[in-house]
């Protein structure tokens, strides 16, 4: 095997290089030559090509993502902001929380099980690399048409992959999303979120500091995973028989990851680590260049020391391999033995592959010959930045003009009942139990709330009850109608879901799933969504702590709906005070907080019943959203609420049905005066929630809402006797005042309809 050395690049300066096959543009290749003052070696070319890819360099999104920094609200809670593996927020009492959401969309379409599994694995390593113990995961998912034959392959594989990896890792799954829309047919979305907790003192950063310190690679061996493109280089450097076949799919090993978590936390707590970095996209190229670039500027690597799973790998391939379950640590020489001993205890292979120096260069040797000599910053941080053209799509006006006002609406009590039963069973609103029962939500013993609650809630401190709540949300149809407001609505929903449980929203992460950045329409959607989200975060005083961008989610010319998934994290002083979603006792009063308007554009009703997408999404007043959250949090703190539930997809009808099904206790409700029953039940106006108030608390509650000038309308009372009165063997949800009649819905019938949908499609 011949290797392209730095010396060769000098003696043989004009050798042709396959930069285009590696995804580099002519001018990008030219600028590499300029940085180096010579042609790159094939190993250097491999590193630049992968580090300057869209995925690693954010070259199309960077100019827009800057807004998250520029518009960042001042927050004392922010300990580590954007730019690190994950952001870290202070939640008090010396505790810190880190959380981040990341996408694994494309691999999950090719091989759903392994794609989703390795997606979970990747985000978990980001969290460990901050020094935190991962404590929960969530999985916002999007699928194509539920009745399309390929959806079954994709969904069942992805769900088993998320479960298979997460369950084996011992992380409770506390929530997520499952949404179906034909726009995701060839582009399912697998976003995975991980939450980690730590003491302030345990925060670690990805930095190679301390001249003379050792760089240790530990975890799984390096194989030929995820190096599709670079085989162009490998095939050039190989002899006649050519390289062995490279795997097209990465396989996850959750057991190895579990050991990696325990081992990493042990070396961190023993104080053996100066800097740490996970290996994800771009593998060793990324880890070494980022560590060096963030540190004191120099590092030397002996690449032949890397332990291999496949001895035929070329140095270019080793640099780019994306083999899972690996980490990199910077360790003082005197601690290396202790570090290796901990690895041995956990049966993890580890090897010193490099050393920090003051050369200002990242140099790599292969069996004594230099194959890389680059300024690390130029690889890791100074990649190309594009200001891509953007343009409001020419169809946007027509779409917004296509309002849903003329769609036929139910006009009698009978039709309302029929619509009710259809809506609770429609795949997007139906119970997700068939999926979520494949996920362990109990492991670790700190899960206070999990699906189907509005947020997942985890107890952080067992003594004090300090905890965090997290929700992720995005109605992509709203973003398709108006990406700016759609992103804000996603934010508002997530913020509200956290507040509903009694937690105070504190920080934001996001996963921006879009089509091709080379399409000006998509770029416009992206810019609008980022601006909307950044503006909302500034106004609401919740900094964005990190996130991820996934572009190229499109089939041919057709992009997915813009899907800016927003995750909000909130803090609750004592999880014992949380507000669950199920009401509990007869006589409790059911209130709607907020105003219901005729807002059905982009709603689930328009989608499910009429397959309609047009008009303008619901209006949003963020100041009111803040007031609502204050009421929800204060009510929880003062013990006013026995239950609360957000109103969003499927409107008030859906929220009431979900509360009734969860509690299995009947209620008598009514349509308030002056509003059309259909609009009241299925409008998706923002900034609303249902709260359930003990009778003894009613005065205090209404006074609080009045003082804050926030609409609170009594719409019902919990009543388990109602079933008896009307001779129903089953508890019932009754809605009075529906065109002068009552609609009676036995809760068992609701549950059956809601729970039958997913098993019928995928079971």
């Amino acid at each position: 095997m011949s290797v392209d050395k730095v010396q060769d690049a000098l003696t043989n300066p004009n050798q042709e290089q396959p930069f285009a096959e590696l995804g580099l543009k002519q001018d990008e290749y030219e600028s590499i030559r300029e940085i180096l003052g010579r042609r790159p070696t094939s190993s250097e070319l491999a590193m630049y090509s992968v580090m300057w890819s869209e995925h690693c360099s954010y070259k199309s999104s960077k100019v827009h993502l800057r807004q998250f920094g520029e518009k960042a609200p001042h927050s004392d809670a922010l300990l580590v902001g954007i730019g690190e593996n994950a952001g870290v927020v202070d939640i008090g009492d010396g505790w810190a929380v880190t959380f981040k959401v990341e996408s694994h969309n494309h691999p999950s379409y090719v091989e759903p099980y392994q794609g989703a599994a390795t997606g979970v694995g990747g985000i978990v390593r980001d969290i460990i690399s901050m020094g935190a113990r991962p404590v929960a995961i969530m999985d916002p998912l999007r699928f194509g048409d539920p009745t399309h034959p390929d959806t079954r392959r994709v969904l069942t594989g992805i769900v088993s992959g998320v479960g298979g990896y997460g369950n084996c890792l011992g992380l409770p799954n506390i929530g997520g999303e499952i949404v179906f829309d034909a726009s995701y047919q060839g582009n399912p979305l697998v976003n995975a979120l991980c939450v980690g907790t730590m003491r302030h003192a345990d925060i670690h950063l990805a930095k190679a500091t301390g001249i003379g310190n050792s760089v240790i690679l530990y975890g799984a061996r390096t194989g030929g995973d995820g190096i599709g493109g670079v085989s162009v280089l490998a095939s050039e450097t190989f002899d006649a028989d050519g390289p062995a076949k490279r795997p097209s799919v990465q396989v996850g090993d959750p057991f190895m990851e579990k050991l990696l978590i325990e081992c990493t936390l042990e070396v961190l707590h023993a104080g053996l680590v100066e800097g740490i970095q996970d290996l994800g996209g771009a593998g060793i190229s990324c880890a070494t260049s980022e560590l060096a670039s963030n540190g004191e500027g120099g590092m030397h690597v002996w690449l032949d020391r890397v332990l291999l799973r496949d001895s035929t790998l070329s140095p270019e391939e080793i640099l780019m391999s994306e083999s899972q379950e690996r980490m990199c640590a910077v360790v003082e020489p005197k601690q290396v033995d202790a570090f290796l001993a901990v690895c041995k205890k956990w049966d993890i292979e580890a090897v010193v592959i490099g050393e920090v120096n003051d050369s200002g260069r990242l140099t790599v040797d292969w069996h004594g010959e230099q194959i890389v000599d680059v300024p690390p910053r130029s690889v890791a941080h100074d990649g190309p930045v594009y200001n891509r053209p953007l343009a409001r799509p020419d169809w946007q006006d027509a779409r917004q003009a296509n309002v849903p006002d003329d769609l036929p609406r139910p006009k009698s009590a009978n039709e309302i009942r029929e619509t009710f039963m259809t809506m609770i069973a429609t795949p997007n609103l139906a119970a997700k139990t068939w999926v979520t029962s494949q996920y362990d939500r109990y492991v670790m013993g700190n899960t206070v709330l999990a699906q189907p609650e509005d947020s997942g809630m985890i107890r952080v401190d067992e003594e004090s009850g300090l905890g965090v709540a997290v929700s992720t949300d995005c109605n992509a149809r709203f973003a398709a109608l108006d990406p700016y407001r759609g992103a804000q609505l996603a934010y508002a929903e997530s913020y509200r879901n956290v507040a509903v449980t009694g937690a105070v929203p504190l920080a934001v992460t996001n996963c921006l799933n879009f089509g091709s950045p080379e399409d000006p329409s998509v770029m416009w959607q992206f810019e609008q969504a980022v601006t909307g989200l950044a503006d909302a975060c500034l106004q609401m005083n919740t900094p964005v702590t990190g996130g991820n961008v996934s572009f190229y989610n499109q089939t041919g010319d057709v992009a997915i709906h813009p899907t800016p998934v927003v995750g909000v994290l909130g803090v609750i002083d004592d999880v014992d005070r949380r507000t669950p979603m199920a009401w509990a006792e007869d006589g409790e009063l059911i209130y709607v907080l907020g105003e219901t308007k005729d807002e059905l554009a982009g709603s689930e009703w328009a989608h499910a019943i009429h397959n309609h997408l047009g008009g303008l999404p619901p209006g949003l007043d963020l100041n009111k959203e803040k007031t609502l959250a204050e009421i929800l949090v204060a009510g929880s703190r003062d013990g006013m609420f026995s239950a609360a539930h957000d109103v969003s997809d499927g409107g008030i009808a859906q929220s009431l049905a979900e509360m009734a099904m969860k509690s299995n206790i009947g209620a008598r409700t009514w349509i308030p005066d002056g509003i059309d029953p259909f609009v009241f039940l299925w409008s998706e106006s923002a900034t609303r929630a249902i709260v359930v108030v003990a009778r003894s608390e009613e005065m205090r509650f209404t006074a609080m809402c009045e003082a804050r000038e926030f609409a609170a309308t009594r719409i019902g009372v919990v009543d388990s006797q109602l079933a008896n009165e009307i001779g129903s063997p089953d508890q019932v949800l009754q809605i009075d005042g529906v065109y002068a009649q009552s609609v009676v819905l036995p809760i068992g019938e609701l549950r059956e309809a809601s729970e039958a949908t997913l098993p019928a499609l995928f079971g």
């Binding site: 030929g224 062995a244 076949k245 795997p247 799919v249 396989v251 090993d253 049966d347």
Partner: protein, 81 residues
């Protein structure tokens, strides 16, 4: 009664965590000299009648589409009389 045996194994370049776990255990149990362990699946189909080429072709198609995942696995079909 004829039996058709479909062996499914991971492609050689794909990581096999199961095989790796067994390999580790073998070492602890004192079996030396094992370089590699791979774990595969075997499906044994028992047929009422005899097997002809048409049936074998059908089984081959099913082995490819249902019993194995061509993205990560290889399979072989054989008749066992």
């Amino acid at each position: 009664m004829v039996r058709i045996v479909v062996d499914v194994k991971l492609k050689p370049e794909i990581l096999d965590p199961q095989g790796r776990a067994v390999l580790g255990a073998l070492g602890r149990l004192g079996l030396e000299g094992v370089a590699d362990v791979r774990q595969g699946k075997q499906f044994i189909l028992t047929l009422d009648g005899d097997v002809d080429d048409a049936i074998l072709a059908q089984v081959d198609k099913i082995a490819e589409s249902l019993l194995s995942n061509p993205v990560i696995e290889d399979y072989t079909v054989r008749v066992d009389r």
